[in-house]
Amino acid sequence: MRKDHNDVIKKIDLVALKIYNDLEKTEIPCIQLPIRSKSNIEFNEKFNVWKYGKNMIQRSAKSLDGAYMLLRTMYMIDFIKEMIKIKKSSTLREMYYISEGWDYAKFHSQNESNSLAEDLEVITSCMREDFKLRPEEDGARVIGNITIEELTRNNNKKKIHCQDDVGDSGYSIPYNVEPEKLSFKSADVDFIIAIETGGMFDRLVENRFDSSYRALLVHLKGQPARSTRRFIKRLSGEKNIPVLVFTDCDPWSYRIFASVAYGAIKTAHISEYLATPSSQYLGVTPSDIENYNLPTDKLTREDIKSLKSELTDPRFQDSFWKNEIKLQLKLGKKSEQQALAKYGLDYVTDTYLPEKLTEMGMVKK
């Protein structure tokens, strides 16, 4: 997060100035931003992540929708400047409700306002924390042998050991995980396992997998929040710990992996802050369905469409993903992490994970 708010103000004022200058030159006001879709993400060699490419779209007052967007942008900029001035922050949802009073600039859904906040990040290369906007999503949970120091609201620095100082639900990741708020004091683990579902996270906790295998368990809660991804990225980078992603075996879960490893399409402008390029996919893979003879469900029409879309997604172009996705399309089946319970509650910790970890070279036989 930028500490210098004057810099942020300068940057968003530039957006307002562009619009003003257009009007003064009797040009139709417009702003340009990268197209935020699968078709416009490129691999960034420098950061090893996927970022937006060079294809731009124009938001222009030429269309009525464009004119509305520009007006909303003006209101949002004004609102951000006001918050910076009075040293407050608001959640994205609060901003959505505040827009009720913005007359023509009012948003019709929170998706609209969230997406405009992201646009503004993209245009100004600031982060939404700079804009004093925060998500209302609560952070994910963490259990494992690491010690975190967090700056609390009372301005006290508090050390938390993520096994001894927390209950079975673990340490909760705050929305701000930047160094001025949170730092890693010590970490004595061999790898991080990022887990999609709460059920599996709890199974591993109950079976004390964090202790027996020197693992840091992170619950992703589905598509992980920015702070969870940032947390994993910082920890992995600063303490040099490998990251393994453990999800269901379906196209949506692969996207969870992609957002952890390569960066999500929606946040590709800040992929270098959020993505951990060295992350590896642990499972469940379509091959696991065959190898472990797992209980399955049939792929739905949406699943198939989504898998096919992933075949053309630039992030899934390596041979591992191509083979696995093609295999899954051939099988016509999908499976869940918890399907491993077919062989008993301890099967995942006693058999599946040790086998997979050995295969990946994370533990020695």
């Binding site: 307002a16 003003y20 023509y104």
Partner: protein
């Protein structure tokens, strides 16, 4: 037992002829029940009156009165201002069945559609035992003849019960009074509907209907122009029946077969006549009076095998789009429809009979949204009130998918529903009715096809109309919003930056980025004053004198260029064929009977051009919407006009 001879039988046959013929056939003659008997009686009288007036170029004034007695007897009075009937003919026309001047003639007339007024007289006599009363006056300075008639059903001859001379105020005309048994209570609604419909397709007629309780309905005349007189033509070989062929041959003055063919039929020249003779393997010098039945049969067959030119079509008398529109407008005043659209097809022919289709469509206003559309069918200007389901008009309408044109229709077939009235008029020298009751037109492919084509033209116009309206409203809405949103954007940004408010007009123009065309129409009444000397061009100069007084339709079109560059294009406005073009500003490049064309030289950005033109020869409301087209400009830039697709 007495021996009965053929002669006795013949006598008996004759005795029962007329009355029995009527009794046996009354359902197909339109007297099947007491409601229909009332409508048919009115129809026969009114049709006769209209035909008589038109025959001698008099604008018809028809008076219909029904006096209802409690005992189910109604006295029917029908009066016209026609030429009257000479005394010796009165008894034949009113007292003999199947007697008439036009029974065998090939021309468009109403009369071929009924059995005739004498059937009404007979019906009255059979049901009430009362005599009919006829008054007729043929010359202004002479008295009228009054005659009381009965029909001798044995002889099919009129019996004059009483005859006198009386004074009658009318310059000329005919009046008939007949008492009939009829269901007045139920029938009067149909009589009203019939007269209203008749008035729509006969805008030159004034029709008054007086109900039994004294209520008077006047269906006003909306056109002072008599319809073009239909011309009698000779039969076309394709349409003639064998019996008629033999009959014509018996009466011909021609002594050779080839001459007979050329003289008695239409579309027959030397070459065709010879070709027919050859196909029939008949000597062309044969005397037609001496031909055998077999020879006629092969001649008749040969007609179908030879390609013969279509019959002439100028014998038809269509109503015309302007008059249809005017009548519909007048009759649907209370509905205040959104628009009225008309279309007409050029004449065509089926088996040697010329015919022509015209349609009108009334849309919107107070018409019910969820009911089936109303269909008003006409054949030779006579409304068809019954058997809608069996009529080719109905099947033509049902075969079109109306869902694209703002109407509802289950699965795109069948009777559409929605706020619309369809008017379909078929005119022909011989309307092919499905049966003798003459209420439905038979399923002739050529006719069905022409009706469909005419309806499609109408449908396209409806779509065009709706499309134009929607597009214009959409752009207008955008205009309104941009005018609110843009100043807000300017306001916010200038406030944030502490800068003065920029001016926005030029930006708004750029955002609109269209050529905007707006139009309106005014009417000006002028009286006995020659139209201002036409500055530009006038079509049909000789005609303009007829329209010295009347209404001038003034059309104003405003073209505003909201594009960022100057625009140069051609603009067309469709005008009614029967309009006379007066002053046109600026100078047009072309005027013909269908349109006026302007080459608009470079209109600079943000500038506008006014176009004005005047039309005479139309009544107020005949021309109530400019149909504007553009050429040599991308039509998507233009709001308020469509792409010119050529003439």
């Amino acid at each position: 037992m007495e021996k009965v001879t053929a002669h006795d039988l013949a006598k008996k046959q004759k005795e029962i002829s007329v009355a029995e013929f009527f009794e046996r056939n009354k359902h197909i003659l339109g007297f099947g029940n007491q409601t229909r008997a009332l409508v048919t009686s009115v129809k026969e009288g009114v049709d006769n009156g209209l035909d008589a007036c038109e025959e001698v170029n008099i604008l018809p004034e028809i008076y219909v009165e029904i006096k209802n007695n409690e005992d189910g007897e109604s006295k029917l009075i029908i009066e016209d201002n026609g030429p009257g009937i000479v005394k010796r003919q009165i008894k034949h026309i009113f007292g003999r069945l199947l007697y008439g001047s036009r029974f065998h003639s090939v021309r468009q007339s109403r009369g071929q559609q009924g059995i005739g007024i004498s059937a009404v007289v007979l019906y009255g006599q059979l049901t009430t035992g009362k005599h009919a009363k006829v008054i007729s006056k043929i010359q202004e300075d002479r008295p009228a003849t009054i005659m009381e008639l009965a029909i001798d059903t044995n002889k099919n001859r009129a019996e004059v019960i009483n005859q006198d001379i009386i004074h009658w105020d009318k310059p000329s005309g005919t009046r008939i009074e007949v008492s009939i048994i009829a269901d007045y209570k139920r029938g009067k609604r149909f009589v009203y509907e019939y007269l209203q419909s008749t008035s729509i397709v006969n805008p030159h007629a004034q029709i008054t209907f007086k109900e039994s309780d004294g209520t008077e309905h006047i269906f006003e005349r909306t056109s002072e122009m008599l319809p073009r007189k239909s011309v009698e033509i000779k039969p076309h070989p394709y349409g003639v029946e064998l019996g008629t062929l033999i009959k014509i041959a018996k009466q011909t003055k021609s002594r050779k077969l080839s001459a007979f063919l050329k003289n008695e039929f239409t579309s027959m020249g030397d070459r065709t006549a010879n070709a027919v003779c050859e196909k029939a393997q008949l000597e062309k010098y044969l005397n037609p009076k001496e031909m055998t039945r077999e020879q006629f049969l092969s001649l008749h067959k040969a007609f179908k095998k030879v390609k013969i030119m279509a019959p002439p079509t100028d014998c038809l008398s269509p109503i015309g789009e302007t008059l249809i529109k005017r009548s519909l407008k007048y009759e649907t005043k209370e509905i205040s429809p959104e628009f009225i659209i008309t279309a007409s097809r050029p004449p065509s022919a089926y088996t040697g009979n010329p015919f022509q289709v015209e349609v009108g469509l009334v849309y919107g206003g107070n018409l019910p949204m969820d009911a089936n559309v109303r269909i008003i069918r006409f054949a030779n200007r006579v409304p068809l009130l019954y058997q809608q389901g069996g009529c080719v008009i109905t099947s033509a309408i049902s075969s079109i998918d109306w869902r694209r044109y703002g109407l509802d229709q289950k699965s795109g077939k069948g009777m559409p529903s929605g706020p619309a009235i369809f008017l379909i008029h078929v005119s022909s020298t011989l309307i092919p009715f499905t049966s003798e009751s003459k209420e439905a037109i038979a399923d002739i492919p050529e006719i069905e096809n022409e009706i469909k084509l005419a309806l499609r033209i109408c449908a396209r116009k409806v779509q065009h109309h709706i499309h134009k309206k929607v597009k214009r409203e959409k752009i207008k809405e955008k205009f309104e919003l941009i005018k609110k949103i843009l100043p807000e954007i300017a306001n916010k940004s200038s406030k944030m930056l502490n800068k003065p408010l920029p001016s926005l007009d030029a930006v708004i123009t750029k955002i609109m980025d269209v050529v905007w065309i707006e139009d309106f129409i005014e009417y000006e009444k002028i009286s006995k004053k020659v139209i201002e000397e036409p500055v530009q061009m006038t079509l049909l100069d000789n005609k303009s004198k007829q329209h010295d007084d009347g209404t001038i339709t003034k059309s104003k079109i405003k073209v505003i260029n909201y594009k960022r560059s100057s625009q140069k294009f051609n603009l067309y406005v469709i005008i009614p064929e029967d309009a006379i073009v007066g002053t046109v500003k600026p100078k047009p490049t072309n005027i013909n009977k269908n349109f006026i064309k302007w080459n608009l030289d470079s209109i600079p950005s943000s500038e506008k051009v006014d176009i004005n033109f005047e039309l005479a020869g139309l009544e107020e409301g005949d021309f109530d919407e400019n149909d504007i087209y553009v050429e040599d400009i991308n039509p998507s830039y233009v709001i308020g006009a469509d792409k010119w697709e050529g003439e």
